[in-house]
Symmetry: C2
Amino acid sequence: MLASIYDSVGALVGEGAERITFPVIAERAGVTPSTLYRRWDDVDALLEEVAVAALTREGESAPDTGSLEGDLTEWALTIAHDISRPERVRYLRAMVSARGDLVSSCPVTDRRHDQAREVVRRASERGEPAPTVDQVLDHVVAPLYHHVLFALDVDDAYARRLVADVLAMVR
Amino acid sequence: MLASIYDSVGALVGEGAERITFPVIAERAGVTPSTLYRRWDDVDALLEEVAVAALTREGESAPDTGSLEGDLTEWALTIAHDISRPERVRYLRAMVSARGDLVSSCPVTDRRHDQAREVVRRASERGEPAPTVDQVLDHVVAPLYHHVLFALDVDDAYARRLVADVLAMVR
């Protein structure tokens, strides 16, 4: 049942549906609206849950190439490819426009946070000078998302330059 | 007339209106829909124009404090204050969700680009080692917008850290 709800939300977002409400999702998924009301506080919570599932399916664990530069490069390229796929862009936009008040943490960001922490931890263990986890998130991940959200171009060269920049901070 | 159209779009966005169409805007502004159809290709174009006007009203010219660190810090603080005001956040979100295909340039980004170029140019003239314009945009501006869009906290300390990071790239 959960898969059918997720699929329905995904389809509605993918179609660019203007109003995604519990009754609309319920009808598409073949469940009663009360099923949705019981499980999620509001549509935004469900939308975000689906977005998180869709946006973090790939690249669950951070790459382990043996060097900080290698790890960051491979990771940045994966994210760049991942989030610039048209259906992901729609998810990201839907997530941003659904986002209301200040949140203390964001599940998509949390996943990226865990991956960055892993990459930085391994670099430190190898004795490589490493940026902080926040620096990796602010200077590699944030600009990639920013470019995607503002419909600016994201290519491999861009991802590589961001990695070079964050490494230059600690050289 | 233009002011009344801009105000109406601003009010509709501010109210969180779900459907912002030419007829809806026209009714609010007291003009005929054809006035809008003649002037703008689509609602997104008008929405973006209003967003640009609203988002770039302040800080037209970049600060000139006599040092790169001073200029970047003052500029980053201005942007941080500016874009985290609730009505600006709503504009930014509306702009992102209205954004469709890949754009070669974005007016809001263009304005920031001009300001960054000015700050970098003055630093170079003073003989200070300076990041590139793209580095300033990617590592100071993008993370600020990213935090605002994802409803993460943006405070002065955060803006100052981003400036310290971009300066560390060229030290």
